[in-house]
């Protein structure tokens, strides 16, 4: 009896905190998405599904959701593509200083988001480093404007920020592959590429999926990169939510868009965890 009481005592502060400051706010967003706002932006308690109808009929909303999802897939794909050689190199080719190199992938993850986004602003800017470098070397004679304030710069920045998130799980998965397996494959006459394709890649797949999922989900929820580096036409779905809670002041519609993003992300997480489990079952228990 006494033991029972003490375990609830240990859990109570957390449970109360999460209920008050996390669960109730989330539930309220769900409720708010079914309300509507008056001309002054006040929320009126009048239950309806207008916001959801708007999202699925007005192309501003559904096409932005669609394009954000495509960009997120692109960002995830690029992150995986560039993480693979890095993770492979550290897991299989480096003997000494492995921990140091691993820490080097982790370090950028600890450096502030805003600092890393800012770096690309000074590199890609109209009078920035890349443009002045290109002009100095005579490759162009006028600054290339498309570098900054475009969807291109937003995607570069997101890839840069999210690569550590993707490289870490891929490296962890590769590190767990028994080295003897790789040697056996080579002894049986497979070249490096075949070994990579037939042995390393399938066994690293759970890490690749979980890393890719991080990149996908984080891009879908990101509103800062498009805000800081995107152009007037770069609009991600989270920017719409931010506008609806800010200048446009239509909280019910903003909540509804938020709920749609949330459902989409939950679906992505569910699908990816299914595949992660499926491919983990190939793991060799040695």
């Amino acid at each position: 009896m006494k033991k029972n009481r003490s375990k609830y005592l240990l859990l109570a502060p957390l449970a109360i905190w999460l209920l008050l400051f996390l669960l109730l706010p989330y539930c309220f967003v769900l409720v708010q998405s079914f309300l509507k706002s008056d001309d002054f932006g006040n929320v009126v308690y009048d239950v309806n599904v207008d916001s959801y109808t708007k999202i699925f009929t007005n192309s501003l909303y559904y096409s932005t959701i669609f394009y954000t999802f495509l960009y997120a897939l692109l960002v995830a794909a690029i992150c995986i593509l560039i993480s693979l050689p890095l993770a492979y190199y550290i897991a299989f080719k480096v003997r000494r200083n492995k921990l140091l190199l691993y820490s080097m992938i982790v370090l950028p993850f600890w450096v502030s988001y805003i600092v890393r986004a800012y770096a690309w602003k000074i590199i890609l800017g109209e009078n920035g480093i890349l443009n002045s470098l290109l002009m100095k070397t005579g490759i162009t004679d006028h600054p290339v404007e498309q570098f900054l304030y475009s969807t291109f710069s937003t995607i570069v920045c997101l890839v840069y920020i999210l690569t550590p998130f993707v490289a870490i799980p891929i490296y962890t998965a590769m590190e767990q592959i028994p080295k003897s397996l790789v040697e056996a494959s080579k002894d049986l006459g497979a070249g490096s590429f075949t070994t990579f394709r037939r042995i390393i890649f399938p066994l690293a797949l759970p890490g690749i999926i979980s890393g890719g999922t991080f990149a996908l989900v984080l891009t879908m929820g990101d509103f800062l990169a498009p805000l800081l580096l995107g152009g007037p036409n770069t609009l991600f779905i989270s920017n719409i939510v931010q506008n609806l809670f800010g200048t446009s002041n239509d909280k019910p519609l903003g909540s509804a868009v938020g709920i749609v993003i949330l459902l989409l992300i939950l679906a992505v997480l569910e699908i990816s965890s299914h595949y992660e489990k499926k491919y983990s079952s190939f793991k060799i228990n040695s």
Binding site: K7, P13, L18, L22, I122
Partner: protein, 262 residues
């Protein structure tokens, strides 16, 4: 010969990615010493004037102190709430454990913008308007998730007989906690605290919606960037980079020590 070429390919592509990760950071550091206000190539002359400007910028210094206050307070409170809970989750089974574990992870798995607007919409019902207090509550909430996930890993690795032995030798629960469990968790706690401090100092998506008139550091930098590029941001970014590097070095060092001790 072919093998050699393949090795060169692996080596160079890996280091090209490493360069991609680090070059932008080095560019910021380099350009923080630029004498001019335009970040152009090449740098013509060097100076420390942006660092001098930094120390005269009262708003920026105020933002640094706001961020430090929020970071230390939210880390401390999240640890007080999260550590006992992590201990209980590891040791006991109870009704709704699976759901609780899912809810704890929500602020990490769900996008910050949704958490941000949810808090923005609901906190006024408690009489909490956008302010540093609201930011503090927001930070504590997501740091609880960080504290619990980090500490659970270590609790799971700990030998359960260690605690039992303390009780068998007549220790009361509290003294068993402070004399046996806490010393064994020391490195995990140091690592968690550092991670929490860094995450709180960097947090934008939730803070963005809850902040009132007084800024935290990343929001102040965001404002400076919106107003136009000023090399002062290079200087403050250099400081942030150095502190992040120190934090991760301490964190990996304590982790390594613990591994060799185990």
């Amino acid at each position: 010969m072919v093998q050699k070429l393949k090795n060169i390919f692996t080596f160079s592509s890996a280091w090209a990615v490493m360069l991609f990760l680090y070059l932008p950071l080095f560019i910021i550091i380099l350009y923080s010493f630029n004498n001019e206000s335009v970040n152009a190539f090449p740098i013509r002359s060097y100076s420390l004037k942006w660092y001098q400007a930094l120390f005269k910028d009262d708003e920026l210094i105020g933002a640094v102190f706001n961020s430090l206050k929020i970071a230390f307070a939210s880390t401390f409170i999240a640890l007080c709430i999260g550590m006992p809970a992590a201990y209980a989750i590891n040791k006991y089974s109870f009704w709704g454990k699976k759901s609780l574990e899912r809810i704890i992870l929500m602020p990490i798995t769900l996008p910050g913008i949704v958490t941000g607007v949810a808090m923005l919409s609901f906190f006024p019902f408690y009489g909490i308007n956008i302010s540093l207090t609201a930011v503090l509550i927001g930070h504590i909430t997501f740091l609880c998730a960080v504290v619990i996930t980090q500490l659970l890993v270590r609790f799971k690795q700990m030998d359960p007989f260690l605690e039992q032995a303390a009780y068998d030798l007549g220790a009361k629960p509290l003294s068993a906690f402070f004399k046996v469990i806490l010393p064994n968790m020391r490195t995990a706690i140091i690592g968690t605290v550092l991670l929490c401090l860094v995450l709180s100092m960097d947090e934008i998506p939730v803070t963005f919606f809850l902040i009132g008139g007084t800024n935290t550091l990343p929001i102040e930098i965001y404002g400076m960037m919106r107003r136009g590029i000023t090399p002062e941001v290079n200087a403050i970014s250099t400081f942030i980079f150095i502190f992040s590097a120190i934090a991760i070095i301490i964190s990996t060092r304590t982790n390594k020590k613990n591994k060799s001790a185990a």
